[in-house]
């Protein structure tokens, strides 16, 4: 059982915990970041969001705008997740999805210590299954229908204590005190925090179990945690009619397992005015039996020596009379920082920024990079969005840039550039005219080839089946085939590039491409691995083996057309050369001879 071990006092005390949010709830997540900022953290606790759609969600940390990475699933997150500190989760997805998404996350991130379920309307069966799960895996789950857990100065996990910065300040959420607040109702949790604070006390920790029938983290567990917490001197509790959680508290009190003074208010005597017991706001709030009534629970609590008044007014008076002598001496009454003015940026960039008049590229001063890196290294780093570390990649890119800079004046892009230059147009127009021909038939095949090799290797498609699937659809395979080069007249550029993979361990993409080539050249001698196909395969292998790029990231490279950049960039240089050349030669406007167009 986890019961004896939970010590919320330790949560977030020294290190910033790592919080994973399932679902995106802007006001709640922002309030957690505001709390982190308020207590002087340098970095926010929320590290990841699991949701569909975007790759980042933008939030503020103080005045600074930040982007929190978004993952599709716990499985997806697992591939990159690392946290040396306490790992917690907050699930804000709907009652329908909360069970499945929680299990999915817990199975994929086993280092999770505990978390909060925000959704209302979660089936009872799912709650009881999670009770079992939590027990078996030695974790805690607060909820469902919980506004969360607050350990002032250390942790805010949920909407608890409010979502406005002003609310956090008035709840004195930055200062850890000595009164624990527990409640089934989310609203009343905050109301009690407010009342305790108003009476001059501060909170040691506060949590809402949620108003459902089977709170996964039970009131008894919470009371034991308060008993266990050295800072807590008093427990303030709000309960309602329905269920029998209070009898468990009575039992713990009678057994001497809880010794700290408890102030308990049980609401719901209004139920007596109804002929048929009605269902009140919370799912649990219905008294079918006498024992479930507010009055019976108050009586049982009182019998066990727990203060349980009949009116809320008396309850507040009791809170006011909690002795100030118990106040934590170390309470820090310092001021909290202002969150300042917030302005949402129109763009995000992870490539470069202008900082204090200096240009920073990938976090380094460009002036320094100018002397410390080669052009190829800087270029491929910027294309990838992160600094490359292996010299093999840099050398390969350097070679590719050279090999792809030109392929003679006859290819469509060069022709277009030359025609535009001769029409008297400027450099940018002529270059644009050339670049605009790059696509599925000219130069744009590298990305498509990368897609072919990557998908087939990831899905374990045998080369034979791979070739067959294209043949069946009567489609060309991007990366295979050349007009001029054949098996007996191989492309010398490809041979040069292939030397880069010779020393590599797995080179699975290149091996696959070569296996495909062996099959296709068997059919026709010019169906060789062409330059596009070779660049794609080798680049994939180098990124995977030398740069530790994950399969997900490789997929992202393909989706974002990264591989085509390896053609577009050098060839643009080639087009500029052709433009300058045409201007120098100055032959005048080009017109196609009549016999060069066949009228049909």
């Amino acid at each position: 059982m986890k019961e004896q071990q939970i010590d919320f006092a330790q949560y977030g005390k020294t290190n910033t915990p790592c919080v994973i949010c399932v679902g995106n709830h802007p006001p709640i997540i922002q309030s957690i970041l505001d709390f982190d900022y308020m207590i002087g953290r340098k970095e926010p606790s929320v590290r990841a969001i699991i949701a569909g759609g975007r790759k980042f969600e933008r939030y503020f940390f103080g005045e600074r705008e930040i982007a929190i990475p978004v993952y599709n699933s716990g499985r997806d997150l697992n591939k990159t997740w690392s946290c040396q500190d306490l790992v917690l989760f907050l699930n804000v997805s709907s009652g329908r999805r909360v069970y499945a998404s929680t299990i999915e996350l817990l199975e994929n991130i086993p280092s999770i210590d505990g978390g909060v379920l925000f959704a209302e309307n979660m089936p009872e069966q799912h709650a009881t299954q999670l009770i079992e799960y939590a027990k078996e895996h030695n974790i805690w789950i607060i909820g469902p229908a919980s506004v969360g857990l607050l350990v002032p100065g250390q942790l805010k996990l949920g909407a608890i204590a409010g979502v406005d910065y002003a609310q956090l300040q008035s709840a004195r959420a930055a200062t850890r005190g000595n009164v624990a607040v527990f409640s089934a109702s989310g609203g009343m949790t905050n109301e009690l925090i407010w009342n305790v604070t108003k009476s001059g006390h501060t909170i040691s920790f506060a949590l809402s179990f949620g108003g459902d029938r089977f709170p996964i983290f039970s009131p008894a567990q919470a009371f034991l945690a308060a008993e266990n917490d050295a800072e807590t001197t008093h427990i303030v509790y709000y309960g309602e009619l329905g269920g029998d959680d209070e009898y468990e508290i009575v039992r713990l009190k009678n057994e001497g397992k809880i010794t700290k003074p408890i102030l308990a208010f049980i609401a719901g005597t209004i139920s007596e005015l109804f002929a048929e017991p009605p269902q009140f706001g919370h799912a649990k709030a219905m008294a079918k039996t006498h024992g479930e009534s507010a009055r019976a629970k108050r009586a049982a609590l009182r019998e066990a020596g727990i203060a349980s008044p009949d009116s809320f007014a008396e309850f507040l008076t009791l809170i006011d009379t909690i002795s100030m002598d118990d106040k934590n001496e170390n309470e820090d009454e310092g001021t909290v920082p202002s969150i300042g003015t917030r302005k949402k940026a129109l763009f995000m960039s992870s490539i470069s920024q202008e900082k204090d008049g200096k240009i920073e590229v990938l976090g380094s001063d460009l002036a320094e990079l100018g002397s410390s890196t080669t052009f190829a290294e800087l270029l491929i780093s910027m294309f990838l969005g992160k600094k490359v570390k292996s010299k093999e990649v840099v050398e390969f890119v350097d070679t590719v840039l050279k090999l792809l800079i030109d392929h003679g004046p006859h290819v469509s892009g060069a022709v277009n550039t030359m025609i535009t230059a001769r029409a008297g147009k400027d450099m940018v127009s002529s270059l644009a005219a050339g670049i605009l021909t790059i696509g599925p038939r000219f130069g744009g095949a590298i990305n498509e080839a990368a897609h072919n090799w990557f998908t087939a290797v990831e899905q374990g498609v045998p080369p034979q089946d791979f070739v067959e699937s294209f043949a069946a659809k009567k489609q060309y395979i991007s990366g295979i085939g050349h007009k001029k080069y054949r098996t007996d007249n191989p492309d010398p550029r490809v041979a040069t590039l292939l030397t880069f993979v010779e020393k590599m361990e797995s080179k699975k993409y290149t091996s696959f491409a070569l296996q495909v080539e062996a099959i296709t050249t068997d059919k026709k001698a010019n169906l060789i691995l062409n330059l596009d196909g070779a660049v794609a395969a080798i680049m994939l292998d180098l990124l995977a083996e030398k740069e530790d790029v994950t399969a997900e990231k490789l997929k992202e490279c393909i989706d974002t057309e990264f591989f085509n950049a390896l053609f577009i960039f050098p060839r643009s240089a080639g087009f500029i050369a052709h433009f300058l050349d045409q201007k120098r030669l100055d032959e005048g406007l080009f017109r196609l001879p009549e016999d060069e167009v066949l009228f049909v």
């Binding site: 709640i28 709907s94 329908r96 209302e120 309307n121 089936p123 009872e124 069966q125 009881t128 009770i131 079992e132 506004v147 949920g158 909407a159 608890i160 204590a161 409010g162 979502v163 406005d164 609310q167 409640s183 089934a184 109702s185 989310g186 609203g187 009343m188 949790t189 905050n190 109301e191 407010w194 009342n195 108003k198 108003g211 459902d212 029938r213 089977f214 039970s218 309602e240 609401a267 719901g268 005597t269 209004i270 007596e272 005015l273 109804f274 009605p278 269902q279 009140f280 706001g281 919370h282 799912a283 649990k284 709030a285 039996t289 006498h290 507010a294 009116s311 809320f312 007014a313 507040l316």
Partner: protein, 393 residues
């Protein structure tokens, strides 16, 4: 929502086929004018049972259950029961049995999983609410436990296992068979009561919100709020306690609404409370308007000579006070002339996100329209606003 009764007809239609038993019940809704025709199509049996099927307890005691009725007398029997104010009935073949064979069995979802209660003497005497000592109790959460329960109850393991499977698969929260007749290869569920977990409706196909036993809601405003709640991710509740009440409450939060209603009751004002209700879960302005409109309309209809409207709630965690108050103000504005004419006094106490803006809006509104009362933030406690409002009565 939470645990909700479904009709006995629906419950048996779900359970029996999954126990491999045919079900020969007929559901009659007398709101449908053609109900007598349905009876003519009944399969022939020598006698029938006719019972009210609206989730009413102790039907036997209250004469809502008619045994051994011949085919010709069914219509008459239904008319008799209908005269007592019911409209949903169940007709089943009448099967004779020895009273000594009657057993009691119930299953309930508890924190640990599923719990089974059994009593060797079935019949109406056993209340699920006050189980006496002779009721045997079993946990039935694995094969071993089910085996133990099966042996003790003399129900075949397969039958009991199948029943528990149905319970789980169909997101039941409570099932009670009383009386139950146990045969070697079948169970005769003479009376079956089932409560489903309404949150499970997304995961089942056999039942939905349409088959819940409806409380006979006759008040339009309650019905409107029920519908509003069904189509919103936020939650809305409204129960009229006294249509001529003087105290009308527009409350937010399941907890704070109870506290406030309790305080009026504590101060001896229970009999003049018009309604209980609450909205929560960050509703938008339109939804809050729809909700407030219903309460305002009830209040204006009340015959009480002095009326107060308490707009109150705790310190919200994430419900935007200014947005919800905009909706409330719209509903009040719509009936402002009548509110003034009836001298309705408005009292407000609320905290939470955007509280300054929300409170300022409603303060301006109340001052401008001379609706008196008091507008306060969290500095005034929940019970204090109740006290203040009572002074106006």
């Amino acid at each position: 929502m939470s645990r909700v009764k479904i009709t006995e007809f629906k419950a048996k239609s779900i359970v029996l086929p999954q126990l491999g038993q045919e079900y020969e019940g007929l559901h009659i809704d007398t709101n449908d004018k053609n109900w007598p025709e349905l009876i003519e199509n009944l399969t022939s049996h020598s006698a029938y049972v006719v019972k009210v099927d609206q989730g009413v307890k102790k039907r036997g005691k209250n004469g809502l259950l008619m045994l051994n009725i011949s085919l010709e007398k069914i219509k008459e029997a239904i008319e008799t029961l209908k005269a007592k104010g019911f409209n949903t009935f169940l007709i089943e073949p009448f099967i004779t049995h020895e009273q000594s064979d009657e057993r009691y069995l119930s299953l309930q979802r508890v924190r640990e999983g599923i719990q089974l209660w059994f009593h060797a003497q079935g019949g109406v005497e056993i209340e699920e609410t006050s189980k006496d000592k002779s009721v045997e109790e079993f946990s039935v959460n694995n094969e071993q436990e089910i085996k133990v329960a099966a042996e003790a109850t003399k129900i075949s393991f397969d039958m009991l296992n199948a029943l528990i499977d149905v319970f789980k698969k169909e997101y039941f929260a409570y099932l009670e068979v009383n009386p139950l007749i146990i045969h070697d290869n079948s169970l005769n569920l003479l009376d079956l009561a089932v409560e489903v977990d309404s949150a499970g409706d997304y995961f089942v196909t056999t039942w939905n919100k349409g088959v819940f036993v409806q409380k006979n809601i006759t008040i339009d405003q309650e019905l409107a709020v029920m519908k509003l709640s069904e189509k919103s991710p936020s939650s809305f509740k409204l129960e009229v306690l006294n249509s001529d009440g003087a105290i009308w409450m527009l409350l937010s939060g399941g907890g704070a609404s109870l506290v406030i209603a309790d305080e009026y009751n504590n101060l001896g004002k229970g009999s003049i409370i018009g309604n209980y209700g609450e909205y929560s879960g960050a509703p938008n302005a339109d939804e809050t308007y729809e909700y407030a409109k219903q309460i305002v309309s009830l209040m204006l209809k009340s015959a009480a000579s002095k009326k107060i409207l308490l707009i109150a709630g705790g310190v919200a965690n994430f419900t935007d006070v200014s947005i919800t108050f905009k909706g409330i103000i719209r509903a009040l504005e719509e009936r402002i002339d009548e509110l003034k004419k009836q001298n309705v006094t408005i009292f407000v106490r609320r905290g939470g996100p955007k509280q300054e803006k929300g409170l300022a809006l409603i303060r301006d509104f109340a001052t401008h329209n001379k609706l008196g009362g008091y507008v306060a933030g969290p500095e005034l406690s929940l019970n204090e606003i109740v006290n203040k409002s009572i002074e106006a009565l």
